[in-house]
Symmetry: D2
């Protein structure tokens, strides 16, 4: 379970409080503020705070004195124009803060995005919860042979059962040994008065990479969309993609116009190289083009034909 | 005048609107939200939006589920500890957005701080206002001979009068020529139907560096405090220091505990080098120490004695 | 003239010195090291230092122990793959440092790219050279009416002559007044012993935005290519585009494989939105598509047809 | 063993090659270029490339055309001045690139410094080496009770033996299961033709946090010194501090003047708060000051007295 009863009570208490503000406010996002959205078996994403809305993008692009126009049609057009032409700075004027619980191996991918502010729960200072990620059977992908970074068909039968046993037992044992070395249980109570207990900063090294950690993560909208374009992509690892998908839903509530433009111009789009564009032009002119004389490598050719919905 | 009547009306309209929010809210900052604080002759700083408060720093440092403790004493102690030991990431969890009007030569110093988000009013796209900075007589510092980056006594009499005449006439003439080249007045109306008018992106190059520009500027609290520690410092140029001082007042309203810790540990403090520390220890031991055998250069010695309030 | 005789002698002296190194070295770039490439009337770009080469990209992508493969074919393929799939971090492993002289209004656009290291010649500390940009007659574009940020046909005849007169006279006069207020000539010699001279940090505000400044600018290859993709683009202002073009030539010497991939996948390419891609697919299927039922706005439609080389 | 025979051969081959260059070159650093400096039981740091030297700092600070003065005395003074007054940008003009092998739990601390370029060995794409960190007996610190983030006296006797057994056995078992799930040995050879093998991106989650990873890490001198000031500090965890110490030696070879200034002004220095400074002034005036009336908290008081070398 991602959230304990005490934590749920704290969250509920925070949700009960309402304040008056002059700031731009988004009721659809306020609705889910502080609430954990469940991801994987013990993880979550919850929105802790936000700054700005769709209007704030328009307002910054125009460096205006008031709240921006009330002509919603113009605002939508401007936001789509900014997204299409990669005018990034107005999107940087919105900011969002998440509290996220995630397996360490996912956190290691995630942290590579350097344009966010992060406060992680410290395993030097505190004892990590006894929670580790065990994949659902349908996500036990075999190693792809076509793509060195990807998964192929799902591992099944005895092999799958063995994998799940290994993951469960090793996680369990490593965590038990972590407590033994700490000489402390999860609550911090001493186990054996005759032992001094290893420093937390050392004992943690025995934990497996599927152990959950958590952090506060704050980012502006432009960099968030860049993160989501990479991590909600079908080529991203499933275990980070599900976080990206949960966050995309929060973006849809927060800045629906920017979210729509992002879907149209970033997520669903495709980049054509100069060579690829030349081939599209030739095809449109009715010419038959073959890979062998296309100037593209076989791999690029396959990627282009896939994008155009044609047989390679 | 920094703000036109129309702009003031837009600001007032925005100030009338209030929303309900679950987010951390700071009444003392809400009071002045959107209102321009006048700086120099035509400039201003106004807070457009903010995220977080003192509690949010504590909450992030603890990666907590709720709003942080209600034991205000503990929170103050933690914030002071974080500031003293340069734990910077919790301060990054608060964010503020300003709308600022400032002379271009000040903007050029300011933009060197790279950790902010900026949307500047575009002189490629729009026509700049007819506003330029003319220093008050008491700020016409002469070139310091002791410090190549500083000002000495104020220039006065005929020399000062001549300086002010030059600045006024050149600004005025260059702006008039800007309009003539644009073939357009400030409102964008064409001046002479027989001329095509130079592109805005070219005509702007005739403006002087005291012309005012404006931008939206958004930054997290940690980087804001770093900016303010440099720009509210007595060694900073007066024309940027007055902006930093106005912003410090907004910080005092926004996050009073962090502001207090910043005043104590950053603004009023001093850094001792290993050599300087060794001398302080010797002095405390009752030893007489002379510059010549201190291991410090004459300049470092003077700086240290000044910090300690002793004659060099 | 961009470079004085003394400066040219210093550059030549530096070019005479050769050292032995174990580092990756690029003879084609060494050839022009330190030499100014002239840009605009008084500006220049010169490469001061560099780190890495095409091999270094490959080496970092593979986290290898040696110099990377000697199979040049594989390296080219890998670099093209990395560029195509936006694997950006290996390109960050190369670094280059330029010394650039440029008009202040160009510097103001340039500095918006925040991912570089910059040391600018300080007008608080030093006296700026008497050099200002005056456009060549063929670059005096009129304001475009179709594109608020662009230029149309060239201003000509009397209007052009008047523009050039204004620019020359105002630059000249403002600079002369700058010296008068400083009470100093370009060499720093005092003009009038009876005046104290205004502080440099103040006097500079009388200069026009076409005055030249200079800086050291250091950046990694990934961020450089991003900068160049924006600033070598036909929509960029001419006065910054010529700098980007000069720098592209240095990139071609430095990392020819990365440069080739950049030309193919970034400069000459086009991004299709999901709507645009759908239309391309319909066109390829032989369907006639009209803007009115395309789901694209008239402006997007025109942009798409232009990219595809078709009449809108 | 950190480096295999093949890897050592690749390194030696790279070390044999010498090129001519016009760039600033540092013989003392060239001497150790590419060579691994051993850290912990299987880790290393090796310098792969560098840009600039002490002169380059001076050259950038002066925006000069040549190589900087040959008056070494002036250069040292300028570098010390820049370090003392936190003029950071000239130090950003030097860049260094390391190849580092380190335990994952150390990598997780390290990556929090966001101002570097990183390429990490990918466990999605490749199989990690069978190497994990086991602390030497003298580094098995017990949890400190005074400092929640620190270590106290060393755990010894049976408790120590048990800790080492746990760490060895769990690392060994988890790695063996990693290979079993992959259905692959370290070389990539299949173990059992009847199993498909779990995707590498999943199997890795079973590894413990003391498993070694490796990366290329590139950073400018300013940010490197900031990193080292935090990580070579006595409060840093031992396992990252030894890396910082090895890197400090490479800095001493590379930029001896900057290194000396860093030692004097950063590493050995102390920051006094405004309250601390007031107390130092009172003590110097011969006044007896007690904590109770000092205005400092007991903890701050102890820290100050320790810095001044006095009993608290």
């Amino acid at each position: 379970m991602a959230i304990s009863t005490d934590q749920q009570a704290e969250i509920e208490a925070a949700r009960q409080e309402h304040q008056q503000t002059r700031r731009a406010t988004v009721p659809a996002l306020e609705e889910i503020l502080f609430q954990p959205l469940t991801v994987l078996d013990h993880g979550f994403v919850r929105v802790i705070d936000y700054m700005g809305d769709d209007d704030a993008i328009v307002q910054a692009a125009r460096v205006s004195y008031g709240r921006g126009t009330k002509q919603a049609r113009d605002d939508a057009g401007l936001i789509r124009y900014l997204m299409r032409h990669r005018h990034t700075t107005p999107f940087e004027m919105c900011e969002i803060k998440y509290h996220i619980k995630l397996p360490i191996f996912v956190a290691r991918q995630w942290i590579r995005h350097r344009t966010a502010n992060v406060n992680e729960y410290s395993a030097r200072y505190s004892i990590l919860d006894k929670e580790y990620y065990i994949p659902a059977a349908e996500h036990l992908g075999a190693q792809s042979t076509a793509n060195r970074q990807g998964r192929a068909a799902v591992v099944s039968g005895e092999e799958a059962a063995r994998v799940l046993t290994i993951l469960r037992e090793d996680s369990e044992r490593c965590y038990a040994h972590y407590q033994e070395m700490l000489n402390s249980d999860e609550s911090g109570a001493m186990l054996d008065p005759n032992r001094s207990g290893l420093a937390r900063e050392l004992a943690r090294m025995n934990l497996t990479l599927n152990t959950y950690t958590q952090w506060y993560w704050k980012i502006d909208l432009y960099n968030l969309l860049h993160f989501l374009s990479l991590r909600a992509d079908p080529h991203a690892q499933y275990e980070i993609r599900v976080y990206a998908e949960a966050m995309l839903e929060t973006v849809a509530r927060w800045v629906p116009l920017a979210h729509g433009a992002f879907r149209d111009y970033r997520m669903g789009g495709v980049h054509l190289s100069s060579g690829g564009l030349a081939i599209v032009r030739r095809l449109l002119a009715g010419e038959a083009v073959m890979q062998s004389e296309s100037g593209l490598s076989p791999r690029e050719w396959r990627e282009l034909m896939a994008a155009l919905g044609r047989d390679a």
